[in-house]
Amino acid sequence: MQAVGLLRQLGYTNVRHYPGGLTEWFATEATNAGPLDVPQPRLPTRVAQAFPRVNLSTRFIDALSERSVGALFRWWVGIVVGCGVAFWLLSSFTGAMLMSQGQPIGAGVSGLVSAVYFSAVTATSVGYGDIVPIGPARLLAIAEAATGLILFGCVVSKFVSQRQEQLIGEIHHIAFEERLGRLRSNLHLIRTEVQAAAQLCAGHDVAPPEAIARVESVAMIFVGELHAVHDLLYRPQQAPGETMLEGILALLASVFREFSELLACVQRQGTEAAPLLRANLATMARLAGEICGDCVPRQFAPGLRVWMDQIQRLAGELTQI
């Protein structure tokens, strides 16, 4: 890899090469996680090893999860009716396979109805016993009972889990909205605090220690909120509404502007920035440096991209202070 060698020659000490490149990255993109998105739920390795990927039950469960409740139910009804007809045909051809009160069921329509009724009673594992199978029909009855029961169980569990998934989705949505609201009000608070610190700073020749302390603490909180915004932009699963996002980005940009003015004031008055402040500034610059229209993984509306680019630029100015 030529570029790695060149960078090494230029004095870069920590350069590595990703040989998979674009091809591998995008070939497996579906399983990739973005920089800060939610880790995919994964079975612990030991559990995963105990159940190898390709086995019958896994495939069975996969096949089930692909089908809807309606489809599974139709399958179940199909089995009931199909087995009923099979019982009836067997009875008609061989004479007696299903007995009702000691008498074989008839070959006519009433016999068909009885056979389907017996089939349904068997598949639901009710087994009233008013009609009983004899001879080879017993085998079919047992097979039907087992299959019907499993399938019916699948229908029920699927029905319940669908509702649960829907509820979980709603809960996530509510939590997300709440978080956005909190993020916005926190940014407002930070802005107020920045303005208050700027006033403290402006009235003096030398920035008073309490102003420095306030700048330090507001920087710390700001980094936390900036992290949340960064997270929001890099999270592929949930997208905030455009108006909401624009409000947050605009607010963030204005906080950034006022914050750099405040910093300039603190530094102009000849006070050495505290180490904690320095560390927070570095994190701030790094996080905001990754907020721009082209570097976030998703495509946003042009209006939003402008705000993102502005935030990145302001972050660049921050590092120069």
Binding site: Q2, L6, L10, N14, Y18, G20, L22, T23, G34
Partner: protein, 73 residues
Amino acid sequence: MNQLEVDTIHRDELIGLRRSGRVTLVDVLSPESYATRHIPGAINLPVADVTRRAHEVLPDRHAPIVVYCGGPT
């Protein structure tokens, strides 16, 4: 140059590093290719420009950097 001297990184490790945010990803393909698609978060520095522009796009010489190109061809 000797291929063996180049430290490589696997996809899984790269995903972890990206998530922690402690790595600069560098796309050394052409700007056209970069415009078409690139690993999100990567910056573009074509091989031809490395010597000339490295210091401006990668100010920290000791920061972790991962370089990639088209693929394993």
